[in-house]
Symmetry: C2
Subunit: 383 residues, 2 copies
């Protein structure tokens, strides 16, 4: 496969009775594994997950579909389950035929060696241009019992919201139905994986899967069937935290990133409008290069607000870089000193806040700066 | 002003009876000069144009409005006309107060020195990060008389469609009413200035103005009042050519650009849909960095089609790099040889063609690659 000398296949085996939910890319050109997962999710049951990094198996035609099916069948044999209890994800180059035989050849061996708790090795196995493995976990009460949520993720480029922007696999021992899991994972995606953007490019392979083995039932955790079950409160909050944590790790590791940028928009006519304005700022190459250059260039923030196509009035706009209000009432803040903002821009984490002064809509997204390293990484990815 | 040691104010004086039309930025945070032009265009008459490069006079509040008014009043005195026959454009840093007095101080002197035909000096005066002056002209018959269309433009970064993406001023001696001019300039913008993108960022100051002095009437050119006048055919075509030529010069001079990229989409459900898919490809940082790296990475084109949100079916998609069909029917073209495409990617001008296989909608846009130089230019613009 692609990453010679590196682990590039991950197999996860799950207990009987494991339920599954997920959110998949909205790309009109999804990969074969994404199509496979969409179908498997309708069954709501999982016993195995197979991930390969190096080849996305996207835009590979009938051969790609066949490769996905063959991988799932082999994994089903190894895991002693049906093929539609096997979930697949692939990441890497688009358009290269995937040689399923090379994955199949290692599946049985990997499954034999499978052991609980090797999270870091799992996170490493799914990396591509990532510079560090990404994981997060929380322990929380469900009924009277403690349950754990643990997730891993990968992603550094081709990252933009509108589901799902990368690969993330989250596991819990809580006994929760697929339907209830689905409600929680969809809702938590909005403020986590859908609120980050590295380069505005949405992958063909973006996949977030949430698996619940139910093992905690033996320790007294109640079985949860309904989406609205009130006992889910703490679990839901912890799941949000895990997903938020993983998403933040992805954007911090954005290709070539030297800074994390939080963009908070308030005073919009709606939350949706606030998000669009925030993304217009977060995706602007000129805002991102200014951040890379440590330039408090708030004029480019004005530009990005103006081009968003959302309701905005120049003379009601206010802009902050961290604690420094730089613009207000249609012009530069009279109290603003360039030196203050210039010093602030040297930080590794920058917050750009915009108040549109129109309504109560607010939202926050995260991005990174656009540096020479992004160009270097992506100008020579395949060669 | 900003560009010390460089010409940075342009004054154009026009004959009595000159008509005016234009297209202005759709930014919600337009500059004071854009607001000024919007109002002046309702009068439809022009005698003077004042352009300064170095300060955009955008997001400068009441002081910016006053600076625009003061400049127009002084220019009106110099040109012996009313203020609403004066058109203004500014380009440069956003958010810095414009010292109108410094422009006013040089207006009378510039007007005295004004001489016909110094197009290159005019084109140079409006440059910012441009690396060459941009001009184009055509001569064409109107009725029995020859008329000339000559235009200049500036723009290299903060370039994206959705009107107007830069400054361009076009002049003709044809005697054409403001209303008829407006119809032609709006329609020609779609395939020219609105079909180019350097970085997806739309400026607060984008301005295209078209002035017709009517001087050719003395040589027998007919006075044209109505938009639909049939005698406009050749003039309309020549105006399109001038605007297309200027727009192409802008994208060729895109900040840091090493390659011109044409993106042609066909087989879409509509022309509008084709344009959206084309822009999704042309604005993708991953497509643009691949071009910079001379990498025939058509997988990223698949990605950009998929994320556009427009109707597309993976298995009907075909992609060409120049003459080489790289993908067809949902997979790599069986006849495709990577060496051919790799050699093609070394060209200075690249054509990416996509057929969606769904309908008859087609459109073409132009962009440039995304290089280290873009980061260098924009990571240190103000400092």
């Amino acid at each position: 496969m692609r990453y010679a000398g590196r682990t590039d296949v991950l197999v996860v085996l799950m207990d009987k009775g494991t339920t599954a939910a997920g959110v998949l890319t909205r790309s009109k050109c999804p990969s074969a594994p994404v199509d496979w997962c969409r179908q498997a999710l309708s069954g709501g049951k999982a016993r195995a997950l197979v991930v390969n990094s190096g080849n996305a198996n996207a835009f590979t035609g009938a051969a790609g579909v066949a490769a996905a099916r063959a991988t799932a069948k082999t994994a089903a044999k190894v895991a002693n389950c049906t093929a539609n209890e096997v979930f697949l994800a692939s990441t890497g180059v688009i358009g290269e035929p995937l040689e399923a035989a090379r994955i199949e050849a290692v599946l049985a061996g990997l499954a034999e060696k499978a052991a609980p708790g090797n999270w870091e090795a799992a996170a490493r196995a799914i990396m591509t241009t990532d510079t560090f493995p990404k994981g997060a976990s929380r322990t929380v009460k469900l009924g009277g019992a403690e349950v754990t949520i643990a997730g891993i993720a990968k992603g550094a480029g081709m990252i933009a919201p509108d589901m799902a922007t990368m690969l993330s696999f989250i596991f819990t021992d809580a006994p929760i139905s697929a339907e209830a899991l689905q409600g929680m994972v969809s809702s938590a995606a909005s403020g986590s994986f859908n609120a980050i953007t590295v380069d505005s490019d949405t992958s063909t392979s973006d996949t977030v899967l949430l698996f619940a083995t139910g093992a905690a039932a033996s320790r007294g955790a109640p079985r949860i069937e309904a989406r609205g079950d009130r006992r889910l409160g703490a679990f839901r909050a912890a799941l949000r935290e895990v997903m938020f944590d993983l998403a933040q790790q992805i954007v911090r590791d954005g290709e070539g990133a030297s800074k994390l940028i939080e963009v908070a928009v308030s005073g919009a006519v709606s939350r949706r409008s606030a998000r669009r304005v925030a993304l217009s700022i977060a995706n602007s190459p000129l805002v991102k290069t200014a951040a890379a250059g440590q330039d408090a260039n708030w004029g480019r923030v004005v530009m990005a607000v103006g081009k968003a196509g959302e309701p905005a009035e120049r003379d009601r706009l206010a802009i902050w870089f961290g604690p420094h209000r730089v613009a207000v009432a249609g012009g530069r803040d009279p109290a603003y000193r360039e030196d203050d903002a210039a010093a602030y821009m040297k930080n590794k984490e920058i917050r750009i806040a915009v108040d549109l002064g129109l309504g109560k809509g607010a939202d926050t997204v995260w991005t990174c700066d656009l540096t020479h390293d992004y160009i270097t990484i992506n100008g020579s990815y395949r060669s």
